[in-house]
Symmetry: C2
Subunit: 253 residues, 2 copies
């Protein structure tokens, strides 16, 4: 599978994705799942994908019109007037790609070809926006109440996100939080793997503020991963002890 | 669903279970999922169940021979020579119960009636043992490498167990750890609900050391739940900040 998180902050958007794909546990590969396109000074749009790799690669290729000669290609995402329109274009392309594959292989195969996506970006004059796109092509947008989206293997890395997230946090703190979320997931789920891709999109910058591939050998990631175990232990010890002499229930079964 | 954890320590065994059952989100009830039987001074055996409630209640009723007049009942768990035999008896009963229901409703319905169980206990002269019993009736035993079992909604509460568990920990610390694991699960999963049942089985005691139902109003649980958020925040702040000026990948897409 995959693990991707898109997070909306006051300062902008932060995205992180893993790079593992697998077909069974004995067939794993590394593929990039984060893509972005920009018109510097005007817009920056990023996409992360989870699910069937052929589906998501096809969607990205179609967005870039790779079926045409390089000189004739144009990316409709770079011409869409709003981020809502961007999400609609990607949603339609995603659901059509899944449906056409399922059509060739029997409708019950739709699940096999399914994928979901996170779309993040900002177009000049408008707010940064963050969308979660379902395999059916419809989508929801992040809000004050739900300011981040996860796709793929979302469970292991969710508790720390819920506890640690603050809308006003710095990009630095957000990256730290995302690394903890990915570290928890990596520890529990073999279908999520290093390296990680990181993209920081500052509000009104319209080009990446920071973009990096984080390898297993990354010093900061290693420090966070090792330090978190120690820090959690201290946090655990700081809480009061349970008292076994508390009233016991008698006669219970 | 359900969330139950059985944990093996040097000092003995600690079990915790929630009490929520649901059939859809609009039909929730409270049912006990933890049961135990003992011959004081000789054996103490506990069972926790997750899955189809009719299945697990039926298994427990059959163990107690509730189809017979009270005077004629005898519980085979109290006569089994070893904990391995106890696990076998429960496993067979569980798989037979599921199979007979599936037989009445078409074989494809087996999943509907499925359930899994955790069995914990000690018989005099032998070590405490902990088993996870699958719907198929087979089972695995906890070991030095895997010293705790979870059933039901296991994902949300797992990271803290993995990070916090130590074989040599006190019962008090183990209860604290379990409460954190349940708190994380309660926060993320509506199908797990308060109150919780707690059972502490001390090695060579052969009767419960401590047994309690933990309600939402429980002062210690509230302190742990609230304190953990604060403690995590401190732990998070104690880790080094990410440095956005780290070398950026150029030309990547």
């Amino acid at each position: 599978m995959t693990y991707c998180v898109g997070m909306m902050l006051e300062r902008g958007l932060v995205l992180m994705s893993d790079t593992r794909t697998n077909s069974g546990v004995d067939n794993i590969s590394t593929f990039r799942k984060m893509f972005h396109w920009s018109i510097p000074g005007e817009r920056l749009i990023a996409v992360m994908a989870a699910g069937n790799l052929a589906t998501t690669q096809s969607v990205v290729s179609q967005l870039e019109e790779r079926n045409k000669a390089p000189s004739e290609r144009h990316n409709s995402l770079l011409e869409a007037p709003t981020m809502f329109k961007v999400a609609s274009i990607i949603g339609d392309l995603l659901s059509e790609t899944i449906a056409s594959r399922a059509c060739h292989n029997g409708q019950s195969a739709a699940g096999t070809f399914a994928a979901s996506m996170i779309v993040a970006g900002q177009i000049k004059g408008m707010e940064p926006r963050l969308f979660l796109i379902y395999p059916e092509g419809n989508f929801i947008e992040a809000s004050y109440d739900t300011p981040f989206f996860q796709i793929g293997e979302t469970k292991d890395g969710r508790p720390i996100l819920i506890r640690g997230y603050e809308r006003s946090m710095s990009f630095e703190a957000a990256v730290k939080l995302l690394m903890l979320s990915f570290d928890s997931t990596l520890k529990a789920n073999l279908s999520v793997g290093l390296p990680l891709d990181l993209l920081v999109m500052e509000r009104d910058r319209f080009e990446p503020l920071h973009e990096r591939r984080i390898e297993g050998s990354d010093g900061y990631f290693q420090a966070i991963s090792a330090g978190w175990g120690e820090a959690l232990k201290k946090a655990f010890l700081s809480l009061p002890e349970y008292d076994l002499s508390l009233q016991q229930r008698q006669g219970a079964k």
